[in-house]
């Protein structure tokens, strides 16, 4: 078998010719000329809701000639937080990563500033609330873009029949579908009386006292409605104040009317409580109602999602926004920003809300009266007040206004529910406050 050898002269000539051909060849825009983009989205728990994200990304990718890959990452067992931590450590990973509420602040040093994306979006979609700014901005820099999928208000989801029968409250009259809320009497006092009445009737409110987010969010809104802050915006510890004492006293009274096993509740427990028909109210986004529509339609027909009761310092509702962040070490930041603009357009937001059955909540002021919330049912209008269309409450997150890196620890260590539970279980007020103060001192590490 003969073998042709390549001489040095032939090799040099071939190399020169190919280089010349490459340099002089015309630029041909290929199918994926604008490069690749890898995206990590939160895996939605509403069946089929991921499809909205996939469709929107594919639609944009086809137009912009970008090759995209999407990973849907579950938030179960903190998988999405683990992914963010691992990528921030490795300085490598997805170009866009969807992050739960506190994570843009936690990884602020690793995130690309997105002011150039947010400023036009705010003009287009309207302002965002204070909590989105608190969590998404640092020193005037937008760390991430508020994502519609996953963002939620954890307001009351009441049983129309049980609240009317046992507490004498007509939640539909208080929050009429299509009209403004009539909430002069919807206060913490009324809420407590209703909790007592429903407890006596054997259908107690299903409010957790555990260490997961639903329990903490409720505690956050109640504390804020009394003006109670463990750490103020300047970072000073303000545990031993009259406001905190008032909130603790209120919580102690409330705990007496909650299910005895509430300290062990996780984020699924309150959903099960409502769906099983054992309780007159839970504080949750409409995911429990959505499951009840499938598994217990007779319960779903009696559910009404509405606003929070007001306390001495105002009406606060627990709000948990999700964000889309772009890593500063990402490889295709321009494409990532372009996609975020596309996913934040009014038509995209409308699609997210529709596909999630009204669960997903846009952060922008102009996007709170979409037809999905008015039309969803049964009963029709059950979600009308879910996005707070009349802006009658302050959307807030527990532990704010403490500096976010301190507040994140108060939030995840569930300091609010723990101190309330300690007090309710027999510790004196001073003991419970001293414990909380000690915890907060520990959170001051920088």
């Amino acid at each position: 078998m003969s073998r042709k050898t390549l001489t040095r002269r032939q090799f040099v000539a071939a190399t020169a010719m190919s280089s010349a051909a490459l340099i002089t060849a015309p630029y041909v825009r290929g199918a994926y000329a604008a490069g690749k983009l890898s995206i990590g989205f939160w895996d939605h728990w509403v069946p089929g809701a991921n499809k909205a994200s996939t469709d929107l990304v594919n639609e944009w990718a086809a137009k912009e000639k970008v090759e995209v890959s999407i990973d849907y990452i579950t938030s179960n067992n903190k998988k999405i937080e683990l992914t963010a931590a691992a990528e921030a450590q490795a300085k490598s990973g997805h170009d866009i990563l969807q992050m739960p509420s506190w994570w843009p602040q936690a990884y602020s040093e690793n995130l690309e500033p997105l002011n150039d994306v947010m400023e036009p979006l705010l003009k287009q979609n309207g302002e965002v609330n204070g909590t989105v700014k608190y969590l998404g901005q640092s020193g005037g820099k937008w760390l991430a873009v508020p994502a519609t999928p996953g963002s939620q208000i954890k307001g009351p989801c009441s049983r129309i029949d049980l609240m009317k029968k046992h507490a004498g409250i007509d939640v539909q009259e208080m929050y009429p579908a299509g009209g403004p809320p009539k909430v002069e009497n919807w206060t913490m006092e009324t809420f407590l009386k209703a909790a007592e009445a429903c407890h006596k009737a054997g259908v107690p409110f299903g409010i957790g006292l555990g260490e997961t987010t639903d329990s903490v969010d409720t505690a956050g809104a109640i504390f804020q409605s009394f003006g109670a802050e463990l750490v103020n915006a300047k970072g000073d510890i303000t545990v031993k104040t009259d406001q905190v004492r008032q909130a603790m006293e209120f919580y102690k009274k409330l705990i007496a009317f909650l299910p005895p096993d509430a300290p062990s509740w996780d984020d699924a427990s309150n959903n099960k409580w409502l769906i099983s028909g054992r309780g007159a109210m839970i504080l949750n986004p409409p995911s429990a109602w959505a499951v009840a529509k499938r598994d217990a339609p007779q319960v779903a027909e009696q559910c009404w999602t509405h606003g929070f009761p007001s306390g001495p310092k105002g009406r606060f509702a627990p709000y948990l926004p999700y964000f889309w962040g772009v890593w500063s070490f990402g490889k295709n930041k321009e494409a990532a920003k372009s996609l975020l603009v596309h996913m934040s357009s009014p038509s995209s937001i409308e699609k997210f809300v529709a596909v999630s059955g009204g669960y997903d909540l846009p952060a922008y002021a102009n996007m709170t009266k979409l037809k999905t919330w008015a039309e969803e049912g049964p009963p029709q209008g059950t979600l009308f007040h879910y996005p707070d269309p009349y802006k009658h409450q302050t959307l807030s997150i527990a532990a704010s206004p403490a500096p976010p890196k301190i507040a994140q620890q108060i939030y995840f260590q569930a300091t609010l529910t723990k101190m309330a539970l300690r007090f309710a279980r027999g510790e004196t007020m001073d003991q419970a406050l001293a414990w909380a103060e000690g915890e907060c001192e520990g959170f001051m590490r920088s």
Partner: protein
């Protein structure tokens, strides 16, 4: 001069030959072969165990923002935290109680199984190993449903006897009881299988001789079974103590450390502090505290095993 050169060359050749043969000898030695055979495993351990271990030591010396070296101040900070000492106490209670019960149950059931004849024994062995072979995250989910606050199957059953409802995961005592119970259920088969293997290696003649001497069942256990099994008991206890101390999944799934942090272990608290509260250096610190505690236990137990080995 030439002679010297020739001489030197010969010396060099002789040395080279000796070197070659000593290399051959070294390669032929059993210990060298053993070393090369275990080298892939050593490399794997270095990559998956040693590197993360040293990396976590490095992380533990950084400040919260991970921007500067702070030496041991994370450790001194932890010493001042009330919750940290609670976690230390709970980890010890959890690990010691669970290991004692696993050893006891494993020992008793191993005796029962040992006395089952032939084929039937194989079936029982297989069935009793089931808890150990199911991934703990899955089996713990099933336990979570049994303990569920609203739909507990246990409470439902107890209600027929007029007992309960018991807040299995909502009350400190019951929550600790529940996590230990699940750990014992999961880990006892490991003790069972180790003890069964040890029981099978005890010569029957010893029991026969004891019987002739009029020994009762307790004396046979005390004077024959236990001394013959003590090394395996020590090693199994140590191994189980390490695994139980570092447990994560059972507590994470059942209670997430609650109520009021009273079921947190080192691993679950490290996760809460490190990942959920974004304080990775402090989380690394918490998990590193397991090392000295387990090292002390390992030294005591292994020293005892060594002593007995020498006596033998």
């Amino acid at each position: 001069m030439a002679d010297v050169v020739v001489e030197q060359g010969r010396v060099a050749r002789a040395r080279g030959a000796r070197k070659g043969s000593s290399l051959r000898n070294a390669l032929g030695r059993k210990s060298t072969v053993a070393f090369f055979l275990t080298l892939p495993l050593i490399l794997l351990i270095a990559l998956l165990v040693l590197y993360p271990a040293f990396y976590s030591v490095y992380l533990a010396t950084l400040n919260k923002a991970m921007t500067k070296f702070v030496g041991l101040s994370n450790f001194t900070f932890l010493f001042k935290r009330e919750t940290f000492w609670m976690v230390v106490r709970q980890s010890c209670i959890f690990a010691i109680t669970a290991v004692v019960f696993k050893a006891l149950i494993g020992f008793i059931v191993a005796h029962f199984v040992h006395n089952i004849p032939g084929k039937k024994q194989r079936k029982w062995r297989g069935m009793l190993l089931v808890p150990w072979v199911i991934p703990p995250a899955m089996s713990t989910l099933a336990w979570l449903w049994l303990f569920d606050p609203s739909y507990s199957a246990f409470n439902y059953t107890l209600s027929f006897f007029g007992v309960g409802p018991i807040p299995w995961l909502g009350d400190t005592f019951w929550a600790r009881f529940s996590v230990i119970l699940v750990n014992v259920w999961y880990g006892a088969p490991f003790f069972l299988i180790m003890y069964l293997a040890a029981l099978k290696s005890v010569p029957d003649q010893l029991y026969e001789a004891a019987e002739i001497d009029g020994a009762n069942w307790w004396q046979k256990i005390w004077h024959i079974t236990l001394p013959m099994m003590r090394n395996i008991i020590a090693i199994t206890t140590l191994f189980s103590l390490i695994v139980t101390f570092a447990n994560f999944d059972i507590v994470r799934i059942l209670t997430s450390g609650g109520p009021l942090d009273t079921t947190h272990l080192f691993a679950t608290w490290a996760f809460q502090v490190g990942i959920q509260s974004s304080d990775i250096p402090l989380g690394a610190c918490v998990s590193l505290f397991m090392v000295p505690i387990l090292a002390v236990a390992a030294i005591f137990i292994l020293r005892d095993v060594n002593k007995r080995g020498n006596e033998a």
